[in-house]
Structures are given as C-alpha cells and as structure tokens.
C-alpha cells in the first residue's frame, strides 16, 4: 500500500466524474450539489482523519461505495438519492463520533447492553411495520431503524464480555432478550447476523470443537423453530430452495435478481440499460442486482474487491491494537459488516436464503448508512494515532 493519498483521491475523482457525467447524459438532469457535497465531505473526513494522525486509508473505498450507491439510486429514483445524501452527511458526524468512541477505553458494558435492549424494546412495542417487519421507529417525522445501531452496541457489549470474565447468565439474558425482541419484530436477518458474529467472537476468544458443535446445533434448532413459527421465513426458505417452482410468488424476487445478473454478462448493459424496474425492493435489497446487470461481472467484481480491500484494511488496522477488548470489538464490527455483505450478495446469488438487509454503504437506507459510517469511525479510532509513516 505504497501510494500517496493524493493519487488515490485523483483516481477516485476521475472515476466518479466519469460515472456522474454518464448519469447526467442519461437523465438529462441531476442534482449536481449532491455528489459535490458528498465528495467534499469525504475529502474533509479524509484529511481530518489524517491531520488527527489516524489512518484514513479506508475513506476512499467507502467514498466510492457511497457515491456508487448514489449514482444507482439517482438512476432508479432521484428522491432516494437525496435521502441517501442526507444519510451520508449525518453519517459523517457519526464517523467522527465513532473515532472518539474508538479511542476511549472500553467501559460500561451494561450501558451498551441496556441501550441495545432499550432500542429494540422501543421498536418492538412502538415501531412501525414496513414490509413484514416492524423494524422502524418514527420520531418527529423521521423514520429510522434502531436495530442498525442496536447491533453495534451489542458487539461493543460482547467484546467486553469476552475480555472481562462476565457472568454467563448476563450474556444469556442480553442475547436471549435481543433475539426475542428481534423475533417479535419479525426482523430475523439482523438476529442471524449478530448470532453468527457472536459465535465467531466466542470461538476467536477461545477455540473449542465442542463450542463449534454446540453453536451448530443451536443454529439448526433455532432455524427449525423459526421455520415452524414464522411464515415469511418459510416462504424465504422455499424461495431459496426452489424458486423455479414459485415463479410468480415467493421465488419472484430471487429469480428476477438472477435474470438481472445473467443479463449483465461480463461487461453489463451499461448504466440505465438494465431492465430492473421489475425487481421488488430494488433500491434496498436488490441494488446489487442492478449493478450486476448494468456494470456486468467486471463491475460486481470491482465492487466486491472494494469490500475485500476494506476487510484487508480493517485487519491491518487491528494488528496495531494492543488492547484485547478493543481488538475484539474491531473484529466484531468487521465481521458484522462483511457478514452482512455475504448474506446480502449470497442471498441474491442463492447461496443462502435471502435475509433482506442492505448492502453496506451502497443500498438505500439512511439509518444503515449512518450506522455503517459510525462503525467505520470506531474502527479508525481503535487503530489509534500513528505517525505519518504509513502514508509514505
């Protein structure tokens, strides 16, 4: 990674201008201020991070992801793109807050656990239902998804649990209550994700074959139970196993996603060339399929390489962390991010049942974007201050 930040930014700006110009030619009219404001914001965050002696290496990747998402949301519906811009701006503040949080010594595990449970409980009882899951909370006319923040808090709690020898019943209560509340909201994707991250952290803290086996059994049991209990999970599983048998109903979304990807081929149909209006929830769950159709295999490969680079950056960051709680928290957050990418993209590719989450940094969803950028901030903060030697 011997490259100057200036060069990274130059390249990034070039690619971005190209895409945005294309978008302009396509739509005839776009809101120029939005990419400009986003670009300036990421620029400011980048140099601010650098001036504060933290590692800014991840910012260009995230900036490309966010602006790529913005381009595709504008292509689908400019209103979504505007909401996304606002989300990214709030996310900028979240990022700074995250850096501050990351530099602090981890403390108050029960505060994080309590905050997570409180958020989930409020949503479960006062939330608004959208698309089958009661996962939204409306405050002063703004609608957001508390679970996005709650799961960060849960990870922070778990990191401290594994390093401070806290009682098991406490862990059982926190996780059990969280899963019950998420199940109550019928929001099973995040529950699954948090559970997997927990298993991974637990195995990382101390690897035992028995534990691995136990988690496997628990997963199977929980899956079986949920399968019997939740009709929408059942239809997701059927859509996963046999979409061709349910062309018009359960399997519709999965198949339309695959058709879109297949139509993309190697180089794609070009921005705006896809036939994607037929995919349900195209801006949240299925934005990846749109990219696949319009940018082709080269586009989706590049997108995934950006995520892989972020993972590489995150693990390089964690190498410098000496505090084991911080390291564990960083690992958890990284797993949360990439686990989500895997569940979303794997769901679209029919590797796993589709869980209906956003593609981090890219898909429409302001809360998700704010949470994602806060996580990034925490990771930057965890790495701590370093000299300028890395950027040489």
């Amino acid at each position: 990674m011997i490259r100057t930040p200036y060069r990274t930014w130059l390249e990034f700006t070039g690619w971005l201008s190209f895409l945005i110009l294309w978008l302009f030619l396509l739509q005839g009219k776009i809101w120029w201020w939005q990419p400009l404001v986003l670009w300036v914001m990421f620029m400011v965050l980048f140099f601010l991070t650098k001036i504060l002696s933290f590692d800014p290496g991840a910012i260009p990747f995230v900036a490309i992801l966010v602006l790529l998402g913005w381009v595709f949301l504008t292509r689908l519906n400019p209103t979504w793109a505007t909401a996304q811009t606002v989300g990214a701006l709030v996310g900028g503040l979240g990022y700074l807050l995250g850096i501050w949080l990351g530099t602090r010594k981890p403390r108050y595990p029960l505060f994080w656990a309590g905050a997570a449970l409180a958020l989930l409980a409020v949503t479960a009882f006062l939330g608004t239902s959208v698309g089958g899951a009661r996962a939204w909370l409306t405050i002063l006319g703004f609608r957001f998804q508390p679970v996005e923040l709650a799961r960060i808090f849960l990870i922070l709690y778990l990191a401290q649990y594994f390093n401070e020898g806290r009682p098991v019943w406490e862990l059982g209560f926190v996780l059990g209550a969280s899963f019950l509340l998420l199940a109550w909201q019928r929001d099973l994707g995040p529950a699954l994700l948090v559970f997997f991250v927990f298993c991974w952290m637990s195995l990382y803290a101390r690897f035992r074959w028995q534990k691995l086996l136990g988690y496997g059994v628990v997963t199977l049991l929980a899956f079986g139970g949920s399968y019997l209990w939740f009709p929408h999970l059942r239809s997701r599983v059927l859509a996963w196993l046999a979409p061709w048998d349910y062309l018009d109903s359960k399997g519709y979304q999965v198949l339309q996603g695959l058709f879109a990807l297949q139509s993309g081929g190697l180089v794609g149909q070009g921005l705006g060339g896809g036939y994607v209006q037929v995919i349900p929830n195209v801006h949240t769950d299925y934005l990846f399929a749109v990219m696949g159709e319009e940018l082709g295999l080269f586009g989706t490969f590049s997108l995934l390489l950006l995520y892989l680079s972020l993972a590489f950056w995150a693990f390089r960051q964690l190498r410098f962390v000496t505090d084991s709680t911080k390291q564990m928290a960083g690992l958890g957050l990284t797993l949360l991010l990439h686990g989500q990418v895997f569940l979303v993209v794997g769901g679209i590719l029919r590797l796993v049942p589709f869980t209906g989450m956003t593609l981090p940094f890219v898909s429409y969803g302001s809360t998700s974007l704010v949470a994602q950028m806060t996580m990034l901030g925490i990771l930057v903060g965890l790495g701590g201050k370093r000299g300028a030697q890395d950027d040489a």
Binding site: L258, L261, G292, G296, F301, L304, F315, V345, L349, L351
Partner: protein, 435 residues
Amino acid sequence: MRKSFLAIAILYGVIFVSLTYWQAFADLKTHPANPRYYQMFEEDRGVIYDRKGLPLATSHSEGETYARSYAEANLSHVVGYFHPRYGMIGLERLYHEDLSRGRSLITTLDLALQSAATEALGNRVGAVVAMKPDTGEILALVSSPAVNGNLLDANWSDYLGDERSPFLNRVTHGLYPPGSTIKSVVYGAALAQGITEPSALWEDQGSLLLQNRIIHNSGSKAHGRITTDRAFALSSNVVFAQLAISLGDRLLEEYKSFGLGEIVPFELHNQGGHCPLKIASDYDAAQLGIGQGELLVTPLQMALLVATIANDGVMMKPYVVQEVRGGLRMRQITRPQSIARVWEALLAQDIQAAMVLAAQEGTARSNLDISLDYGGKTGTAQITQGQDHAWFIGFAPIARPEVIVTVLVEHGGTGSQVAVPIGIQVLRAALTLDE
C-alpha cells in the same frame, strides 16, 4: 486475526465463483419468467430480403419501440412472424440470434413469384413449392391458407377458429399420398432394373385383378395396346401396378434413395412422412406403384424428388437463406450443396423425356393459352373421405431445367384439371421473372 481475515476472504471467494457462474455462464435469456425475453420484441431488428433485395420483413419505429411489418404476401409459413404476444416462428425464429443483433437475411425467395404462386392457388387449400433444381434454392414456398403477420392482433381468434388450419405449413408438414406423380420414380426404377423399355408394349384393359381386389385406371379407361412411355404419359394404373409388382422391394429402396419417409435436410422443420419397410402382397406393391396406400409424402419431398430428376439425377440440398450479413461478424454465405447422386444422368433424362411427353400428349397437358415448354406429371391422390387431392410436379424449360414446381391442392379434384394450370402459371412466372 489472520485466520479470521482468511475466512472472510474465502467467503468473498465463494461469492466470486458464484457470481462468475451466474453472470458469465448461466443461460436464462429465454426463460419464460424473464421479462427481458419479452422486451426483445420491441427492439430494432435486421431486415429479411428476397433474392432481389425487396424487403420481406422490416422493423418500423413506433415511438420508443419497434414493431415488425411484412410484405403483403403469403409469407407466414417461411418467413414466419415475430410478435410480442404470439411469439416467433419460421425464419424469424430460426435466425433470431442474428436478426436481434441487427444482421440481415438475404433469402432465395422471389417475392414476385411467391405472390404469383399465391395468386395461382387462389382460395384453394394447398401448397406450392418452386425451386432451382441445379442449386437447391427455394424460389417460392406457399402454403394456403396462411396467417398475415401484419394483422395478428386483429385476426388471431379467427385464425384459431379456422378449420382449414392456417398455422399448418402444408409444404413441410402436410402428409399426402403422392398419387400418380410417384410413377416417375417407378418408371425410372423399372428402366434401371431392365424390367421394361420405353417402347415395350402392354395390354391395358382398364383394370387389373389382383387376388380378389381390383386396380382401376382413372375412370376405368382402357388404353388398349400401349407402350410404357405412353402408359406413363396417360398415367395407366394397370401398367404401373404390374411394374411395381415386378420391382417388389427394389421399389422401396428406390423410394428411400429419394428420401421418402425421411426428414429433408432443410432449414425449416419438416415431416418425414411414411414409407413402408416391406411389401406384404402384390396388391400392396401395386398400390405403392400408383402412389396410393401406405406411402405418405410432403410437398417438400416431392419438390426435392422432381428437382433431382430435373437436375439429371443429382439431389441438391434445398435452402432458403443464402446470406446473413451485417454487424461485426463476417458475412455468412450458403453455397449449393449436393446430397447424393440418386440416378445416372441418362436415366434421369429418360424420365425427363417421359414427363415432357406427358406434358405434350398426356395427363399433364395444359388447357391454358400459355406457350411454355415444360415437362410434368400429375397425380390424383384418392382418399377415403371427400374429394381427391390434386398433384402436379413439373420442370421448365425442357432443354436445361431452370425451375421445378410442385403443386398440391387438398380435395381439389384431378391433377390434370386443378393442379396443372397452377403449376404452369408458376413455372411461366418463374421463367419470366428470372430475367
């Protein structure tokens, strides 16, 4: 940490592999649930031309989308149609990959001849094929009734309700007994085997008793003392039944060498018809010799048969698309290709001469006021219900045949009265239109 990163990298690797499969290798383009499949019906598309460069099928713009329009002729059985609701068929379907990429087809069809053949056939239900015997180029391929590719929306329910089956391509899928047209093969086989000579004499009483069944001439007409040549020209069933009995199983081999009972190697899908494997009795042999009974053929097979005779015994592969051009790829040109030498040239010329005799003095004589030197053979396929099917196979000019024609009129009556005039008009049109 290192292991965790590795695990994440492996997960991404799995996604990479799966993505590569779905994006680069999976084939879902024509899946019925894929809306892109229907979108293609609205896109611009290559033109289909006739042999002189006249458009048979073109795409015209309708606002943001394109629709297909066709030349006003009986084209649905060869060019086909391409419609968002009714799908695609014919060349539109066979060459969809090329057409959808903007490439054009240049066919061997002659739009004017196609129209002339349609006109000659009129309201009758039947089929006409015109072909160049020396190359295999199909000049006209008419099956009537047809559907009009421009008016599918308006007429679809009528088409579905029409009991004359406008969707059936009678040229490629209509199965009929060949009637007396098949005598040209019987005669050739008999000459080749030395069973008879053109000048050999026969006694024709108008009917022939075989075991306890009778073979009649048309109208039980007794021709008396008659040479084989004239028996062919006058289409004597009595004489040809005896020839077929003498030939026995060798006759079946001759039929098979002309491709009867087998699918013709041709771009358009077609039926193989039926040719029996064995001859059970003299009566069956006699029936086969006069084109009745078990033998069933398509007009396409008969066209290939007469083309082979007219081409001095060499069977040419029939084709209808001579060139695919346009786009980034090389032009694709079809070259004439011979399938087999079925007969020696001299034998084929003997049969040509016999057909000329039939055209001048026999059943294939024309009562039209058209001067044309041609050769031909009629057929009247008797069926158990309704009027007989009328056949005519012919070629012109005599010296060096440039075009052959096959006419079939379903329940038309006798070949001489119904099929011959149509065939003459088509041959005449083909020769005048050619230059």
